[in-house]
Amino acid sequence: MHILVCLKQVPRDNSVKINPDLSVNADGIEKIMNLFDEYAIEEGLVWNEQHGGKLTILSLGTDTWVEQIRRALAMGATDSLLLSDPAFANLDALAAAKVVAAAVKKLGDVDMILTGRNSTDDESGAFAPALARALGWPQVTYVGKVLEVDPAGKRVSAERHLETMVETVSAALPAVLSVIKDINSPRYPSLLKIKRVTKIEPPVWNAADLGVTGLTSASTVTKRVPPPPRPKGALIDGPDTATKVKKLVDTLLESQII
């Protein structure tokens, strides 16, 4: 069976700045793999161990992402693929998904795609549904538990963990699944494995390799600003804790906050 995991690089935290050209500036912030993708990789590994075959890590990004791809290989992924081209910069989620779909079609033998619930920088969660539709595959999003993967019977069943309910869903393979954090505990790659992958260069496919032309995004960012500052707060003081707590409750009641 061939499982593919989509991996995005993101800044560790979002203390980003905004460049004059409206791009987001994350300079000086450590880069990590999107946390939810770590869970997607772990889930891929679990089913790869059970069914054998390939586990490919795919990123649509730049060569500055290779460190994250290597980490995924150190965790146990068997293959990797980087989609990179100046034409892929600044695509919205729907357009990015079309590029990835072209790569998946070119690979030809993928049975299941795992992505994270959302990226922690763009936070849209639109990529997995967009990818599924671009491929014409079913989607199972917000998966908190994969119950069964049956490559022979071409079915996957999983629990979707939504805000107030849990749905049990089965879908025909090939399918796209997005996973949440609760699904498993990702393994740490050993130092030995990390050392073993340091020289691996993932194959790179560009727009011409994929035969994608005329890529456009229907949405564009035309303004980007920091949030308005929060109004200045007040510290509650008093001779002892009981007085401070009473003052706090008084203030909350007077301001009709409670």
Partner: protein
């Protein structure tokens, strides 16, 4: 293409609060776009709900009822929504931004080659052009999106962004549409409500505890009591979720839930940027921390320097006394 089509979410046979908000704001947006405000109700209860949507101001309410739509599936709902889009020819489709709405809204936008904006907090129309505002990067960046002229825009709107529509309108019509032939490729074998879980994203008041609570027993001794006295829900920092004190559903932050309640109390939480990402848009923030330099105080409306072990029992008692719960 003109006007607005609102995707109606249902709670039993009632119109969900988010949909009432979308109908409220949809009225002005439709007028600015020079078209009608229409809505689509999908599923078994569509008939009963449609009448309520008319009362909330929609001029045409499309219903799509079919046994295949008894439970939510992406394929079924997208096909039904596409039928409504074909009938209404809107310039803008509005839906909520819940997990289910994202599953459906992003798929619909992909199918229709629409412009998509997710987690929208405001929408504007000027000279026929739509712009959508939505935050990213844990609220540290506020983006304004524009869309290629002539493309349909699908906006998935965050709760509590707009005022709800008032009841009492009349004159709208209900039109039944057939579900277009479609293959539903997923089978839902069970739908179970999560037992005993308060939906954090719906709660008006939240108290969250962090590592400052010391241990799991202390968290459960002190935090739910305050939540109960306030009639609110309780949350947690990632530190205590990862330590196994509290289930993941309660995690607030960059990799947990984004909440925006009327009151958020952070107790024994330092205020790391990833935690702030999930709660900084709360209307009022109360911080309780023994370290006066903790970063949480920088976003707090009201700060109280103290030990949670002293403050929280006193707070519970005082709230019970004053609120009578």
């Amino acid at each position: 293409m003109s006007g607005v089509l609102v995707f109606i979410e249902q709670v039993g046979d009632e119109v969900a609060a988010i949909s009432r908000e979308l109908l409220g704001q949809g009225q002005a947006l439709a007028a600015a776009l020079g078209g009608p405000l229409s809505a689509v109700v999908i599923g078994a209860q569509a008939g009963t709900v449609a009448a309520k949507v008319v009362a909330l101001g929609a001029t045409t309410v499309y219903t799509v009822t079919d046994p295949a739509l008894a439970v939510y599936t992406t394929d079924g709902y997208v096909a039904a929504a596409q039928a409504a889009v074909a009938a209404a020819q809107p310039a803008l489709v509005l839906a909520g931004a819940s997990f289910q709405a994202r599953d459906f809204g992003a798929a619909l936008a992909a199918d229709l080659d629409a412009g998509l904006a997710v987690d929208v907090t405001d929408l504007q129309v000027a000279g026929g052009a739509i712009t959508a505002i939505s935050p990213s990067h844990g609220g540290n960046v506020v983006n304004t999106y524009s869309f290629t002229p002539g493309t349909l825009v699908v906006a998935l709107v965050r709760k509590q962004s707009f005022a709800e529509a008032a009841d009492g309108a009349s004159g709208g019509t209900v039109t039944a549409l057939a579900l277009p032939a479609t293959t539903i490729r997923t089978q839902v074998t069970s739908v179970a409500p999560k037992s005993g879980v308060v939906n954090l994203t719906d709660a008006a008041i939240i108290i969250s505890g962090g590592r400052g609570l010391g241990d799991k027993d202390n968290y459960y001794k002190l935090i739910p009591a305050v939540a109960e006295a306030l009639g609110g829900a309780y949350g947690a920092s990632r530190a205590v979720v990862d330590a196994g004190w509290v289930p993941y559903e309660h995690q607030v932050g960059q990799t947990g839930k984004t909440v925006s309640p009327k009151l958020y109390i952070a107790a024994g939480i330092s205020g790391a940027i990833q935690h702030l990402a999930g709660m900084r848009t709360s209307r009022n923030i109360v911080a309780i921390n023994k370290d006066p330099d903790a970063p949480i105080f920088r976003v707090a409306t009201l700060g109280l320097v103290g030990d949670v072990n002293d403050v929280l029992p006193l707070l519970t008692a005082e709230l019970k006394r004053r609120l009578g719960r």
